[in-house]
């Protein structure tokens, strides 16, 4: 049973590692679909909570992979999920960097770079749509997301934990004020 989960974690995270153009966040909707809908390992609510925790913790935004592995299979699951999500893309990056570094001034190199950028942007927008549909918090969720998007542009240097704390506080205030 446990082994099945570890193999399953590999089967989910290795492919997503290799297609996560635009950063790990771009495949968040895909991971959510696999973990929640296809395999039923976590509920949608669990997934959103893990996302919030991973954003509040330090490090790259995609440490949610570690948390998913940990939640499903403990420490071993956390190690397997982290390696499965970060190792394949790192190896690929390493190989491509060594091979193509000599060609970086060439036109094809620039075309690939510029062509992949909007694809990455589209994937991130899709992830936002998926998370908003998941979170099921009504107008308050939309309001807080929009508000924080504005604040992050105006004051990019505010520490993130402070941010999330304010969001949590506002949500509690809203619910106490109008039950």
């Amino acid at each position: 049973m446990r082994d099945d989960h570890l193999v399953g974690l590999l089967a989910v995270f290795v492919p997503f590692s290799l297609i996560s153009i635009g950063g790990g966040i771009s495949v968040l909707s895909g991971i959510q679909h696999e973990i929640v809908a296809v395999r039923g390992w976590l509920t949608a609510q669990d997934f959103v909570q893990l996302f919030a925790i991973s954003r509040a913790a330090p490090g790259p935004g995609t440490m949610i992979a570690t948390l998913i592995g940990w939640q499903i299979s403990g420490w071993l699951g956390a190690v397997v999920a982290t390696l499965a999500f970060f190792l394949p893309s790192s190896l690929l990056c390493y190989g491509v960097f060594r091979l193509s570094n000599a060609h970086r001034e060439k036109a094809w190199h620039r075309a690939v770079r510029q062509g992949l950028a909007p694809v990455g942007t589209g994937l991130v927008i899709s992830s936002v749509i998926a998370i908003l549909q998941l979170s099921d918090g009504g107008p308050l969720t939309l309001l807080l997301a929009a508000l924080s998007a504005i604040v992050v542009v105006v004051a990019p240097r505010v520490p993130v934990p402070l941010y999330l704390l304010c969001g949590a506080g506002l949500a509690v205030l809203y619910h106490t004020a109008m039950p």
Partner: protein
């Protein structure tokens, strides 16, 4: 090791500068460990630039820029890819492995510690509401990322079309992500290729 190294910008002609003897693996590890542990949300690339290029002068401006572009266009976390490229330039394969391990090992334990702390608090409705609020706030960072991506292509109707095609395929119609990417990416690269040739 006897002579002091000259300013790094002077040797930008040499593409690869691996096995740079002035940077030990342990120094590289500690630098990445600090980056990983002290970085709260986004903007991490700017911090890497400040530390590796401006402060420590390990990497030239030009090498940083090309590594950054590479990290963005390939799959994988942008910052993880970035430190892989920088580590390779500093100390070869072992440097790349050291850098990415250093970046991830701190957050690995931090994120589990955070989940444990939250899990040990008895679940109440209020906690659910608070976590929901925090999650909604976190979505704002992603919206900012989207906004910057769209603005970058704002003078470029074809590329805006590419963004829209991906959003409709993956975000709205929920088609398989890999399928959509493999279909749209070649078209997008072809557009960029033709535009590049026209400019030249």
């Amino acid at each position: 090791m006897a002579e002091a190294l000259p300013a790094r910008s002077s040797d930008s002609a040499s593409v690869r500068t691996d096995d740079n003897p002035s940077v030990s693996l342990s120094t590289l590890f500690l630098a990445c460990l600090k980056l990983g542990l002290l970085s709260f949300g986004g903007g991490l690339s700017g911090w890497v630039y400040q530390d590796f290029v401006v402060r420590r002068r390990w990497i030239s401006d030009e090498d940083f820029a090309s590594s950054f572009a590479m990290g963005q266009m390939l799959p994988g976390g942008n910052v993880a890819n970035l430190v892989v490229c920088l580590g390779e330039q500093l100390r070869g394969p072992l440097g790349a492995a050291t850098a990415v391990f250093g970046l991830l090992v701190g957050p690995f334990f931090a994120v589990i510690a955070m989940a444990t702390l939250i899990g040990s608090i008895p679940q109440t409705q209020l906690l659910d509401i608070a976590l929901g609020g925090a999650a909604a706030t976190a979505i704002g960072f992603l919206i900012n990322l989207c906004w910057r991506g769209v603005r970058r292509e704002s003078g470029n109707p074809a590329m805006l079309g590419i963004i829209a095609a991906v959003v409709i395929g993956v975000g709205v119609l929920k088609l398989h992500l890999l399928l959509v990417t493999l279909f749209v990416a070649p078209i997008s690269i072809a557009i960029a290729w033709r535009r590049g040739n026209k400019d030249a």
